[in-house]
C-alpha cells in the first residue's frame, strides 16, 4: 500500500525531474505524451487506493527527514478519508488540465519548462495533501508557492508577469510566516506535530494557546487561499498561462488553506474564537470579492475574484462547524471553477485578448465552449440540478443555523455571483462581435477535458450524502439537523435570488447593451477598493524609503563615518604630533632638559 501512495506522489516528481534534466533531449511529441502520463498514473494510483483501501486512517513511512533531540519529522504519507478525497480531486483535475495544456501551450517555445513546472506543482500539491504532519505539509505548502511563482512568471520577459510572480510568492511568504509561527507554537505546546496527535490532544490545550496557534495557522491559510488580508496576489496571478490559473488558482493550491483548517478542525474547535474568525473572514471575503467581480472587464480577473469569493464560502462552511459541507463545496468548486477557467482559456486562445469588451457574439463561433461555460456558470450560481447548488446551499443552511447575518450576507453574495457570471456570459457569447476578427473552436485536445469537467460539475453535486458518510470516520464531522420545511424556504430564497440576478444581468447587458460606467461605486469597485494602493502605502513604500534613508544616513552616515572617523582622527593625531619634530636642535634639547627636570622632581618626591 505504501508503494501505491509513494507512486501517487513521486510519479509527477519523477516527471518533473526528467523534464528538467533531460528535457532538452525529448521531442515535442514525447513531452506532450510523457508529462500528462505521469499525472495520469498518479490519478489511477489514487483511484485504486481510494477504492481498495477502506478508510481507517494510517500513516505510511518512507524515509527519515530531520531528527534533533525530541523533534522528529519523517517523509511519510497519510491516507485517510480527507486526504484520499483531496488526492483524488487534485490528481484528477491536474490530469485533465495537463491534457488541456498540450493544446494551449503547444506552440510556446518554453513548453518543456512549462510542463516541468506543472508536474512539480502537482507533486508539491499531492505532498501537501498527503502530509501526515505540519512540517511535511509546510514542505508541500512552500512547494506549491514556488511553482505558482514559477508559473505566474512563466513569460518572464514581461515585467508585469515577473512582478506578479514575485508578489504572489512574497504575499504567500507572509502567510507562511504565520504558518511557521503556528507550527512552532504547537511544537512548544505539544512536542509533536502529527495531525492525529494534535487533534487528539487539542482538547487538553489551554484556550488562549489554542486560539493563538489556530489564528497563526489561519494567517497562513489566508495567504495561500487568498482570503481577506492576503488575497491581493490572486488577481495579479492571472498574468500566468490560463491552464495554470485553472489548476493552481482555482482547483488546487487555493484550496490548501481550507484543507489545512479542516484537517486541524479540532484545534480550531477547541478555541471557539478561531472558528468564528474563520467563518466571518470567509463570508466577508466572499462578499467583497463578489462586489469587485461585478465590474471587472478582464475575463480572467472576474473568475479570479469569483474564486476568492467561493473559497470564502468554503471557509464559512468549515467555520460554522460543517466541515463536510465546506469540503464538499471545495470538491465541486474544483470541477466547475477549473471548467470556467479552461473555457475562458479557450476563448482567449481563440480571440487573443482577455478583455471582454472586445469579445461578444462568440456563441455561434465556439458552440462547445459556450455550452460548457454555461454549465459551469449555472453550477457556480447554485442553480438546482448543478453541483454548486448542493454544496453552496448546504453551507448556507448550516450558516443559517449558526447566525442569521452570516446567512443573509451569504445569500446576497450568491445572488451577486449569479449576476457577474451571467454578465460575463452575455458580454462574451451574446450580442454582436466587438473587436475580434476571426475565432475558431478549440481543438478536441482542449475540448474533451472541458466536456469531462462539465459532466463532473453536474453529477458531482449528487453525492453529498455519500461524501458526508465517507468523511464520518474523521470523528469531527457532523451536521446540525434543520427542519425540512425551513430548509426548503432557504433554498427557495437563494435560488430565487440567483434567477433574478440572471434576468437582471440579461436586461442590463443584452437589452440596454451597456453596463454601468460611472459613479463613485463603479470607480471604487474597478479600483478594487484601492486595497493594493493601501498595502503599497502601508508596507512597501515605508519599508523601501525607510531602508534607503537608513542605508544612506545611518549605515553610511553614522556607523561607517564613526569607523572612518576614528581612522582619520588617528591619522590627524599623527600629523599633529609630527609637528613636535621641529628639526631644531634647541627644541630637542629642551625636551631632554624637561625630561631631566621631571626625573629629578620624581627623585625628590621619592614615593610619588
Amino acid at each position: 500500500m505504501s508503494f501505491l501512495l509513494a507512486l501517487i506522489v513521486l510519479a509527477p516528481a519523477l516527471g518533473a525531474l526528467v523534464l528538467i534534466l533531460l528535457g532538452r533531449f525529448l521531442g515535442k511529441r514525447a513531452v506532450f505524451w510523457f508529462s500528462p502520463a505521469t499525472v495520469g498514473i498518479s490519478f489511477l494510483a489514487s483511484l485504486i487506493a481510494f477504492t481498495t483501501f477502506k478508510n481507517h486512517p494510517s500513516v505510511f513511512y518512507l524515509f527519515p527527514w530531520i531528527s534533533v533531540g525530541k523533534f522528529h519529522v519523517d517523509f511519510s504519507l497519510l491516507w485517510d478519508p480527507l486526504s484520499s478525497i483531496m488526492a483524488l480531486t487534485v490528481s484528477g483535475v491536474s490530469f485533465l488540465i495537463h491534457i488541456y495544456s498540450v493544446g494551449y501551450m503547444g506552440e510556446d517555445p518554453g513548453f518543456r519548462r512549462y510542463f516541468a513546472y506543472l508536474n512539480l506543482f502537482t507533486f508539491s500539491m499531492l505532498l501537501l495533501v498527503l502530509a501526515p504532519n505540519l512540517p511535511m505539509m509546510f514542505v508541500g505548502w512552500e512547494g506549491v508557492g514556488l511553482c505558482s511563482y514559477l508559473l505566474i512568471g512563466f513569460w518572464f520577459d514581461r515585467d508585469t508577469a515577473a512582478d506578479a510572480g514575485k508578489k504572489a510568492f512574497i504575499v504567500n511568504r507572509v502567510g507562511d510566516f504565520g504558518f511557521l509561527l503556528g507550527i512552532f507554537l504547537l511544537f512548544t505546546l505539544l512536542g509533536n506535530l502529527d495531525f492525529q496527535y494534535i487533534n487528539s490532544r487539542a482538547a487538553s490545550l489551554p484556550t488562549t494557546a489554542a486560539t493563538a496557534a489556530a489564528l497563526l495557522l489561519f494567517l497562513g491559510a489566508t495567504g495561500k487561499s487568498a482570503q481577506i488580508p492576503l488575497y491581493i496576489w490572486l488577481p495579479d496571478a492571472m498574468e500566468g498561462p490560463t491552464p495554470v490559473s485553472a489548476l493552481i488558482h482555482a482547483a488546487t493550491m487555493v484550496t490548501a488553506g481550507v484543507y489545512m483548517v479542516s484537517r486541524l478542525f479540532p484545534l480550531f474547535a477547541r478555541s471557539g474564537l478561531a472558528l468564528e474568525v474563520v467563518a466571518w473572514v470567509g463570508i466577508i471575503t466572499a462578499a467583497l470579492a463578489a462586489t469587485i467581480a461585478l465590474v471587472q472587464n478582464d475575463i480572467k480577473k472576474v473568475l479570479a475574484y469569483s474564486t476568492i469569493s467561493q473559497i470564502g464560502y468554503m471557509f464559512t462552511g468549515v467555520g460554522v462547524g460543517a466541515v463536510s459541507a465546506g469540503m464538499f463545496h471545495l470538491f465541486t468548486h474544483a470541477f466547475f471553477k477549473s471548467l470556467l477557467f479552461l473555457a475562458a482559456g479557450s476563448v482567449i486562445h481563440a480571440v487573443g485578448t482577455q478583455d471582454m469588451r472586445e469579445m461578444g457574439g462568440l456563441r455561434r463561433k465556439m458552440p462547445i465552449t459556450f455550452w460548457v461555460f454555461t454549465i459551469g456558470a449555472l453550477a457556480i450560481s447554485g442553480i438546482p440540478g448543478f453541483a454548486g447548488f448542493f454544496s453552496k446551499d448546504q453551507i448556507l443552511a448550516q450558516a443559517y443555523l449558526h447566525s442569521k447575518t452570516l446567512w443573509t450576507v451569504g445569500v446576497i453574495t450568491a445572488g451577486l455571483t449569479a449576476f457577474y457570471m451571467f454578465r460575463l456570459i452575455f458580454m462574451t457569447f451574446y450580442g454582436e462581435p466587438r473587436g475580434w476578427k476571426h475565432a475558431h473552436e478549440s481543438p478536441p485536445v482542449m475540448a474533451i477535458p472541458m466536456e469531462i469537467l462539465a459532466l463532473l460539475s453536474v453529477i458531482s453535486g449528487w453525492f453529498f450524502s455519500s461524501f458526508h458518510q465517507w468523511l464520518k470516520p474523521l470523528g469531527y464531522i457532523h451536521l446540525e439537523e434543520l427542519a425540512h420545511e425551513r430548509e426548503l424556504i432557504l433554498m427557495g430564497v437563494s435560488v430565487g435570488l440567483a434567477l433574478a440576478a440572471i434576468v437582471l444581468a440579461w436586461w442590463i447587458y443584452l437589452k440596454r447593451k451597456r453596463g454601468l460606467r460611472t459613479g463613485f461605486l463603479y470607480t471604487l469597485l474597478t479600483n478594487k477598493y484601492y486595497v493594493d494602493e493601501i498595502y503599497e502605502a502601508l508596507f512597501v513604500v515605508p519599508y523601501r524609503e525607510g531602508a534607503r534613508a537608513v542605508s544612506r544616513y545611518f549605515d553610511a552616515g553614522v556607523i561607517d563615518r564613526a569607523v572612518l572617523g576614528s581612522g582619520k582622527l588617528t591619522l590627524e593625531g599623527g600629523r599633529l604630533l609630527s609637528f613636535l619634530q621641529t628639526g631644531l636642535l634647541k627644541d630637542y634639547a629642551l625636551w631632554m632638559a624637561a625630561g631631566i627636570v621631571i626625573a629629578l622632581f620624581v627623585a625628590l618626591r621619592g614615593l610619588l
Binding site: 524515509f63 527519515p64 527527514w65 530531520i66 531528527s67 534533533v68 533531540g69 523533534f71 512540517p135 509546510f138 514542505v139 505548502w141 512552500e142 512547494g143 514556488l146 511563482y149 512568471g153 518572464f156 520577459d157 515585467d159 515577473a162 512582478d163 514575485k166 510568492f169 512574497i170 511568504r173 507572509v174 507562511d176 510566516f177 511557521l180 509561527l181 507550527i183 512552532f184 507554537l185 511544537f187 512548544t188 519599508y543 523601501r544 525607510g546 531602508a547 534607503r548 537608513v550 542605508s551 549605515d555 556607523i559 561607517d560 569607523v563 581612522g567
Partner: protein, 498 residues
C-alpha cells in the same frame, strides 16, 4: 593526519614558489590539485568520524614553544563539518578564478592556498594560542587577495578589512594573555580553560573582548560596515571564501570560546546579544533590499543570514544550537554559490550594477537556473538546505524566547523580498543592452563548479540527518559546558584523547 591536512596547502604554496611565473596553467592545476587533495582528506575524516564521541578526535599534540604554548589540534563534530565546508569551497573558489584572474596568477594561487591553511587551522586548533595564530595568519592572504586583485576601491576596502578585524582580535589577545597566565600550569587547552573559574569583574571584560572580536567577524549589527566594502572589492574567489568560511569563524569563536569560557558573563550579556542578532537579521535584509550592486546585496544578505545563525547559537536550546551550526554550513554553500554565479556574471557583463542588468535569463538559461536554485536555497525553501537550518533555529529559539524568534522569523519574508527582487532585476524583464543577448552561457568548467553545490543543497535539504548526526553529540557537549552543567571539568583534563 590532521596536521598533514592543514599544512598541505602551505606546502603546495611553497612548492608553487619555485614554479616559473609563465607556466600559469601548471600553477592553476597544481593549486587545484592540492586543494582537492585537502578536500579528499576532509572526506576521509568525515567518514571515519565517530559521531558518538563528543570530544575532539584525530587529536595530534606536540610540545612546541613550551610554557603551555603547545601544538594541539583535533576535530570534534562542529569543527569537522566546518573543515569539510572549507575544504569544499576552496577548490571551487580556485576553479572559478581560472579565467577571472588574468595577471599575477602565481601570487594569487599562493595566497589562496595560504588562506586555506589559515582557515583550516582555526577550526582544528584546540589550543587558544594556536587558534589565535591561525586566526591572525589568515588576515594577510586575505589582505593581498582583496588588495591586489580587487575592484576600484580595493585599497580602501582591504585596509579597512584588516584594521577592523585586528581591533577585535588584538583585544582578544589581551584576554588570551590573562587566560594564559591564570590557567593552571599555563595550559591553553580549550577543555582545560573551560574549567577555569574567573572572577566576575575580569570575566565581564574578557567576555567583552572575545565577543567584540567575534562579533566583528560574524559580523553582528553595528560591526558590519567592513563587510560590504570587502565583498564588493574582493575578487570572486576572495568573496566566496570570505563569505563562505571567514564569517563562520565569528560564530565558531562564539560557540567554542566566548560562551563556554565565560558562561556567567555570557548569561549577563545574553539579552543585548539577542537584540543585536535580531537587529542584524532585519537590518541586513532591509539594507540588502536597497542595494544597487549585486555583491553588496549578497554581503548584506550574509549579515542577515548570520544573524539567524547567531540567534540560534545564543539561545542554547538543542534545536536552535544545532540549527545555527547547520545554518552556518548552508550559508557557506548558498552564499558561496551566489558569489560564484555573480562572479561568472561579472566575467561576462563586466558590471554588477543591477540597473544595467536585466532579462539575462534569455541568453543565459543555465546560469539563470543555477541562480534561481541558489536564490531559493538561501531564501530557505523547504526541500533545500536553507529551510532545515532556519526551521530548526526558529523552532528552537521559539521554545526559549518567543518574541526574539517571532521577530527573527520576519527575516523569512524579508529575505524572499530582496532575493527575488535581485533575481528579477538581473534575470527577468527585458534585456537592457543588446550586447548582452549574445553572451555565452556557462561552459563545462563552470557547470562542474556549480553541480556539487546544487547536489549538496538537495542532499542537505532532503536528508539533513546525515550531517546533523555528525555534530549532535559535540554540540550537546558544548551546550552543557556553556550552561555550566559540569562544575569541574577535571574529567576532561585530557579527555580529548582518542
Amino acid at each position: 593526519m590532521t596536521s598533514v591536512m592543514i599544512f598541505l596547502p602551505v606546502a603546495g604554496a611553497i612548492l608553487l614558489l619555485f614554479v616559473p611565473r609563465e607556466k600559469t596553467d601548471f600553477v592553476k592545476y597544481f593549486a587545484l590539485g592540492v586543494s582537492s587533495a585537502v578536500f579528499f582528506f576532509s572526506m576521509w575524516f568525515f567518514l571515519n568520524f565517530n559521531p558518538y564521541y563528543p570530544f575532539p578526535q584525530f587529536v595530534e599534540r606536540a610540545r612546541w614553544i613550551g610554557f603551555g604554548l603547545n601544538y594541539h589540534v583535533g576535530m570534534d563534530g562542529i569543527s569537522l563539518v566546518l573543515v569539510v565546508l572549507t575544504a569544499l569551497l576552496s577548490p571551487l573558489a580556485l576553479a572559478s578564478s581560472f579565467r577571472y584572474i588574468k595577471e599575477r596568477e602565481k601570487e594569487f594561487y599562493i595566497m589562496i592556498l595560504l588562506l586555506e591553511t589559515g582557515m583550516l587551522g582555526v577550526f582544528v586548533a584546540q589550543n587558544l594560542f594556536l587558534f589565535y595564530i591561525f586566526w591572525e595568519a589568515m588576515l594577510i592572504p586575505m589582505y593581498f587577495l582583496i588588495g591586489m586583485w580587487g575592484g576600484e576601491r580595493r585599497l580602501y576596502a582591504t585596509v579597512k578589512f584588516v584594521l577592523y578585524t585586528m581591533v577585535g582580535s588584538l583585544l582578544m589577545l589581551v584576554g588570551i594573555f590573562y587566560l594564559w597566565k591564570h590557567s593552571p600550569h599555563h595550559s591553553l587547552y580549550f577543555y582545560q580553560l573551560y574549567s577555569l573559574s574567573i572572577p566576575w569583574g575580569s570575566q565581564i571584560l574578557l567576555f567583552l573582548a572575545f565577543a567584540l572580536a567575534f562579533a566583528i567577524k560574524v559580523p553582528l549589527f553595528p560591526f558590519h560596515t567592513w563587510l560590504p566594502d570587502a565583498h564588493t572589492e574582493a575578487p570572486t574567489a576572495g568573496s566566496v571564501l570570505l563569505a563562505g568560511v571567514l564569517l563562520k569563524m565569528g560564530g565558531y569563536g562564539f560557540l567554542r570560546l566566548a560562551m563556554p569560557l565565560f558562561p556567567q558573563a555570557f548569561k549577563f550579556f545574553l539579552p543585548y546579544l539577542l537584540a543585536l542578532a535580531v537587529i542584524s537579521i532585519i537590518y541586513g535584509a532591509a539594507m540588502a533590499f536597497v542595494q544597487e550592486d549585486a555583491k553588496r546585496l549578497v554581503a548584506y544578505s550574509s549579515v542577515s543570514h548570520l544573524g539567524v545563525v547567531m540567534l540560534g547559537i545564543f539561545l542554547l536550546s538543542l534545536r536552535s544550537y544545532m540549527g545555527g551550526i547547520y545554518q552556518m554550513l548552508n550559508h557557506g554553500l548558498s552564499t558561496g554559490a551566489l558569489f560564484l554565479l555573480i562572479g561568472m556574471l561579472y566575467e561576462r557583463t563586466h558590471t554588477r550594477d543591477m540597473k544595467k542588468l536585466g532579462g539575462l535569463a534569455r541568453p543565459l538559461p543555465v546560469l539563470a537556473a543555477f541562480l534561481m536554485i541558489t536564490v531559493f536555497s538561501s531564501i530557505g525553501l523547504p526541500g533545500l538546505n536553507g529551510f532545515v537550518g532556519e526551521f530548526l533555529v526558529f523552532l528552537g529559539s521559539f521554545e526559549v524566547n518567543k518574541t526574539a524568534a517571532a521577530l527573527a522569523a520576519l527575516g523569512v519574508i524579508l529575505s524572499a523580498v530582496y532575493l527575488l527582487r535581485m533575481y528579477q532585476r538581473v534575470m527577468q524583464g527585458r534585456v537592457k543592452n543588446e550586447v548582452f543577448l549574445k553572451l555565452p552561457d556557462m561552459n563545462l568548467r563552470e557547470v562542474l563548479i556549480m553541480v556539487p553545490l546544487v547536489i549538496l543543497f538537495l542532499w542537505m535539504g532532503l536528508s539533513p540527518n546525515f550531517f546533523l548526526k555528525k555534530f549532535e553529540k559535540s554540540a550537546r557537549l558544548m551546550m552543557e559546558i556553556t550552561q555550566q552543567k559540569y562544575k569541574t571539568l577535571y574529567l576532561f583534563e585530557n579527555g580529548g584523547e582518542r
